[in-house]
């Protein structure tokens, strides 16, 4: 894989898309399609979650099959915050990021001592442990999950309105993408990508490789936690299903479809997958088959992902 370098049109295009996104709720309302605002918010939230995995997988070269654990941890953290009387997102969201990030730090500190298939298995194992922990935690709703008592407020403004939550998600996604984009070209991102390319060489240049990987892993977990907190607000529920390994798999598929190691790989992948799911579900209940065929097509014909079709990436 090559090192990340943004194409010249990437910045104008992302600003254009951001403007389009900001106009979307009013446009949908004008056509009486408010129902889709919730769906669009879901796309943004999964774009955030998939992008956080892309930091770990695409830029860090760590194939984690447990990323949904941090998504779920963030969702539960938000719900538990609300239960404890904290209904302000400015407090609850950072708390969710902190909890998920800390959880990722612990998982990473152990898992990152292994490589390859072992790393995949151990991250999966941690996520499944967390899944069963939440399922059996009666005080947090067990199987049923922990419902939110209405949406939170953000800096005093209620997120109860679908458009308000949409704007919050869009703003946070934009901030995260700005951060990831800067990171990728800053010292940390260059170091991380170089470690992905050749770990031994980086050790031989004096880099404490483990520490860089761990920080990236924890950072990815924290941002996934933020996505989880948003998701809990969208659906009104912190569900144990969020932590299930199939959810981790979905995030992986999003990143692979979108483009591993491309800044917008996670965003593109989440949009493509959720849009397909949404449109295919209406056509046939066997939509997974079509999805499978699509995944095959991507792997065979666009192995670097959809984002790669739009631009070159060089060292």
């Amino acid at each position: 894989m090559a090192f990340y370098r943004p194409a010249s049109w990437q910045k104008p295009l992302s600003l254009l898309l951001l403007c389009a996104a900001l106009a979307l709720p009013s446009a949908l309302a004008a056509f009486g399609q408010e129902f889709y605002i919730g769906f669009a918010t879901r796309v943004l939230i999964f774009a955030l979650a998939a992008s956080s995995l892309n930091l770990v997988l695409g830029f860090g070269g760590m194939v984690s099959l447990g990323h949904a654990a941090f998504l779920g941890a963030g969702a539960y953290a938000a719900a538990i915050c609300q239960q404890a009387g904290i209904n302000e997102a400015l407090l609850a969201f950072p708390a969710a990021m902190g909890i998920a990030g800390l959880f990722a730090l612990v998982v990473g500190a152990i898992s990152l001592r292994t490589r390859g298939v072992y790393f995949i298995m151990i991250t999966l194992a941690f996520a499944q442990m967390a899944y069963y922990l939440f399922i059996s935690a009666r005080s947090w709703g067990g199987d049923d999950g922990l419902p939110l008592n209405g949406r939170m407020t953000l800096a005093g403004f209620s997120l109860a309105d679908d458009a308000a939550l949409f704007y919050a998600a869009a703003g946070l996604l934009a901030l995260a993408m700005l951060f990831f984009g800067r990171l990728a070209e800053a010292r940390f991102g260059r170091t991380l990508q170089a470690i992905r390319e050749n770990e031994t060489r980086m050790e031989a240049l004096g880099y404490p490789v483990f520490r860089y990987r761990l920080v990236a892993f924890a950072l990815g977990g924290a941002v996934a936690g933020l996505a989880g907190a948003l998701l809990a607000n969208l659906t009104g529920l912190a569900s144990p299903n969020l932590l299930q390994w199939t959810q981790s798999g979905t995030l992986l598929v999003m990143v692979i479809i979108g483009g591993v190691g491309y800044l917008y790989g996670g965003v593109v992948g989440a949009a493509v997958l959720l849009l397909l799911e949404e449109s295919l579900v209406g056509v046939t209940e066997h939509w997974h088959i079509i999805l499978g065929l699509l995944l095959l097509a991507v792997v065979l014909f666009a192995p670097k992902g959809v984002a790669a079709l739009f631009g070159k990436r060089r060292g």
């Binding site: 951060f179 800067r182 800053a186 010292r187 260059r190 031989a204 004096g206």
Partner: protein, 251 residues
């Protein structure tokens, strides 16, 4: 010897049923070029791996600059002033020559932390200026912008050396720097190593005996994981054991 820059004492390592290194005592004095020679499979690269920290010994110790580094990891030893080049070219093929060296400069303790998340590396002109000086030293000034994958083999070897130098080592471990190079490139590499030796101590593993005898101040001979001789080039050349075990084929 207490004042040796590198002092290896009774280093042993066993792989399954094979004694790869048998109680090797070895030292490198500050300022010298010390060559390590021996037949294929003698354990030279294994030895270098133990000195650099890529592998840990079963027993014995490695002292560097007066400090016991036996249990230090590779990156800690690099930070302590020990750099290595690889037998097989090991550079970032997708990056330009300059970007390769920038990575090496950036990893140095005095270059500051690499846990920086916001400022693009390309704006850090100090890193690039420093990196250029190492490319100058190895004669790659005109290739700074060339992607490493497009450099000739000899140029990649030189780039590898520039990266090792950019860590500002006291001791440079060169594992077969002439490997796979043609006669012309080899001659250039010999000149380059001679030039570098003015500033840095070098431990050289090499099969090219002409180069070894031209460059080395001292030579040690490793055969079957045992150090059978260590001395000046003349002493080694005239050692009966060395002639029997190894040099007989080469001289």
């Amino acid at each position: 010897m207490a004042d040796a820059l590198l002092d290896v004492r009774r280093l042993s390592r066993r792989f399954a049923a094979v004694d790869a290194l048998k109680a090797v005592d070895f030292s490198v004095q500050a300022g010298e070029i010390h060559a390590l020679i021996g037949p294929n499979g003698a354990g030279k690269t294994t030895f270098i791996h133990h000195v650099s920290g890529a592998l840990l010994p079963d027993s014995g110790s490695v002292h560097f600059a007066g400090r016991d580094v036996t249990r230090l990891s590779m990156h800690q030893r690099v930070r302590a002033g020990m750099a290595r080049s690889y037998q097989i070219t090991n550079v970032f093929l997708g990056l330009s020559a300059l970007d390769n060296v920038v990575l090496a400069v950036q990893g140095r303790a005095d270059a500051g932390s690499s846990f920086r998340f916001w400022r693009p590396v390309r704006d850090e002109t100090a890193l690039f200026d420093d990196a250029r000086s190492y490319l100058d030293q190895v004669g790659l000034s005109s290739k700074t912008g060339v992607v490493a994958g497009q450099l000739s083999h000899g140029e990649q070897r030189a780039l590898e050396l520039a990266m090792a130098l950019a860590t500002r080592p006291q001791l440079l471990l060169l594992d077969e720097p002439m490997a796979g190079t043609g006669p012309e490139e080899s001659a250039r590499m010999v000149e380059l190593i001679e030039h570098l030796a003015r500033h840095v101590t070098i431990l050289l593993v090499e099969h090219d005996m002409a180069a070894v005898f031209r460059l080395a101040d001292r030579i040690s001979v490793l055969v079957n994981g045992q150090l059978i001789c260590s001395g000046t080039p003349d002493e080694v050349k005239n050692d009966a054991g060395v002639r029997r075990a190894y040099l007989g084929d080469h001289l």
